[in-house]
Every structure is written in C-alpha cells, then in structure tokens.
C-alpha cells in the first residue's frame, strides 16, 4: 500500500469529510481531496489519477451508489478500489453495493480501527492479486 496514494473523500457533510481526512492522515495518507456529492466527484475522478475512493451513500445530486456504478462503468476508472462509509444499513442496500462492485462497506458511526482494518483488507487483496 502506497502512503502517497491519492484519495478522494466524498460526503455531503463537511464534518464527516474532515473526520475521514484526519483519520486517513493519522494512518499516513496525506494526499486526500474532497467532493460533496457524486456529481462533483465523478469529473474529479475522470480528470485526475486518484488511487482510492471513499464515499458516503446518501447525498443530494448524485448518490454514492450511483457514483459507484458510474465508476464501474467507466473504462478508465472501473478498477479503482471503492470504500463505502455510510449510515445506510438495509440488507438490500449492502447487497446492492456488493453487486455493484464495492470493495468495502463501513456503517456509521464507525471507529478509527474499523477504517484502518477495512483499508488494510482492501489493499491486501489488491496487492496480493
């Protein structure tokens, strides 16, 4: 796992974006950027070379699940690891996210340890592949 990797954090609440950014910095990731919904995130992902996407589900404009599907449908972005951090905890939604190709799913409220564990797991699998 490259600590210089470029991470996009997408959440409509700026407090949550700041929390995730701070936690990522604590884990050694300093290269993060923010977007407040899928609509702003998608062009950023397409125009830059992000390595990792952390997104909320419930956002106005374009939701996280729509963003995930758009990323998987984009030739250039489709293999990007995506971690969902959301308050949505319906079984159907988790199954939908899994089917859409999410790499990890964290329910809010979460702990710093959970975030670290899921990120480690995602990149273990990618680096091991």
């Amino acid at each position: 796992m490259d600590s210089n990797m470029k991470i996009l954090v997408v959440d409509d609440f700026s407090t949550m974006r700041r929390i995730i950014k701070n936690l990522l910095r604590d884990l050694g990731f300093n290269n993060t950027q923010e977007a407040d919904d899928g609509k702003t995130a998608l062009p950023m992902l397409q125009a830059n070379d992000f390595d990792f996407l952390v997104t909320d589900w419930n956002m106005p404009g374009m939701t996280g699940i729509e963003l995930l599907k758009a990323v998987r449908a984009d030739e250039k972005l489709k293999s990007m690891p995506v971690l969902m951090v959301t308050a949505e905890q319906k079984r159907d939604q988790i199954v939908e996210a899994a089917q859409a190709g999410v790499n990890g799913y964290i329910v809010k409220p979460f702990t710093a340890a959970t975030l670290k564990e899921k990120i480690d797991k995602i990149f273990e699998r990618i680096d091991g592949a």
Binding site: T63, K90, P109, T111, A112
Partner: protein, 253 residues
Amino acid sequence: MSQEKESVISTATLDNARKLVESIEGGDLNGARSIMDDIASLREMDLFCEMGKLTRELHDSLNNFKLDTKMSGLAENEIPDAKERLNHVITMTEEAADKTLNEVEAALPLSDDIKECSLELQSRWNQFKDRKLTADEFRELSKDLDEFFPKISAGTVTLNAHLNEILMAQGFQDLTGQIIRRVINLVHDVEEGLVDLIKMSGNQAVEKKKEDSKVEDELNTVGEGPIVPGVAHSGETVNGQDDVDDLLSSLGF
C-alpha cells in the same frame, strides 16, 4: 349557476311568456300548449344544472375525504415518528457533547502536568547554565530530565488518543443532519397538506398530483439515513459493522 346561463334562461322565459299571451289572445290553443311545454322543459334544464352542481360538490367532498386520510396518516404515523427522530437527535448530540467534554477533561490535566514540569525543569536548567547549581543539584536535575523525556512521549500519545476520540465524536453532525433532513421533509408535507385543506374549505379544489410512488422509488437509491430506535424502517436492516461484515462474507467477500 353562471350569470350568463341565467340571463339566457330569463330571456327565453320572457319570450315564451309573450308568445303564450299572443297565442291565447289569438285563440291558438295548440300553439299555447306547445309554448307551455317549452316553458316546462326550461324548468327541467334548471333542475339539471342544479343536479350538476350537487354532483360537483359530492366529487369535491370525496376528494376532501381522500386528503383527510392523507393528513390522518401524517398525524398517526409520521408525526410520532418525527418526534422519535428528534428525540434521538437530542440523545446523539448529548452523547457527542458528553464524549467531547469527557475527553477534554481527561486531556487537560495531562497537558497541564507537562507544562508545569517543563517550566520547572527549564528554570533549573537556566540555573545550571548560569552555574548556580551544586553538583548534587545537577545530579538531581539530570535524574529528573531522564524521567521527563519518556513522560512527554507517553503523554503526547495519550493526548493524541483523546484528540482522536474528540474527532470521532463529531460524526454526530452528519448522522443527526440526515435525520433532521427527513423531519424537514415531513414538515414540508404537512405544510402542503394544510394548504390543500385550506384551499378545499375555500371551495377551490385544486387537482393535486400524487407523488408518493415517485418518493418510494427514490428512497432505495437515495437512502434512508441512520437507523432511529423506535421508528419502523422499510426493509430489513443490519445491526452494526459485524452484521455488515457477516453479510458481505456470505456474499463471497
């Protein structure tokens, strides 16, 4: 009944009355009878208009009734749910505030202690540089410095942990924000319902498009926000991160 229609009817009646008098004076009894039939049919037309009006009123009342069931649904289910949601918001903000205050209260004595120790050591270090310390006093200072360094590093690790807990506690703003947004939507629905009721009682029925099914469809992609205790959620929900992990591993994750 419209003014226009009324004046058409009264003109027709006047015409017929004149013709009737003429016919009777002229001894045309058959003609008089047919004019009287015309007058009767005009009366019937009047009756039909009145019936039309009543039908319209019945239709409006039925629409009113439909609206009332929507309002009673809001009153019976949505409003109590909203109260639960807002109570949950109070609980969450209280927990976050308590958590933050506890962490601050735990961190402050640590930083105070580090500050006092360093001030005290600094003054003795300055005395040493001014050659005012005896050999014994210097040995004492050296021993205290040896103890101080690991204390700083351990202290800052603990301080960082407290700061991180404060950071995580701010997550309440996102979660309560999502809950409050739903309540705002409900208040908006109630407002619309009340406006419709006022329009209805003012006898100006407005055709209102039903958007409920659209809202239902949106929910699955838009999401419902955090689970609120005591509030029914559509669909089966998981209970925390462990359940999510179990579900995902059952899906081959």
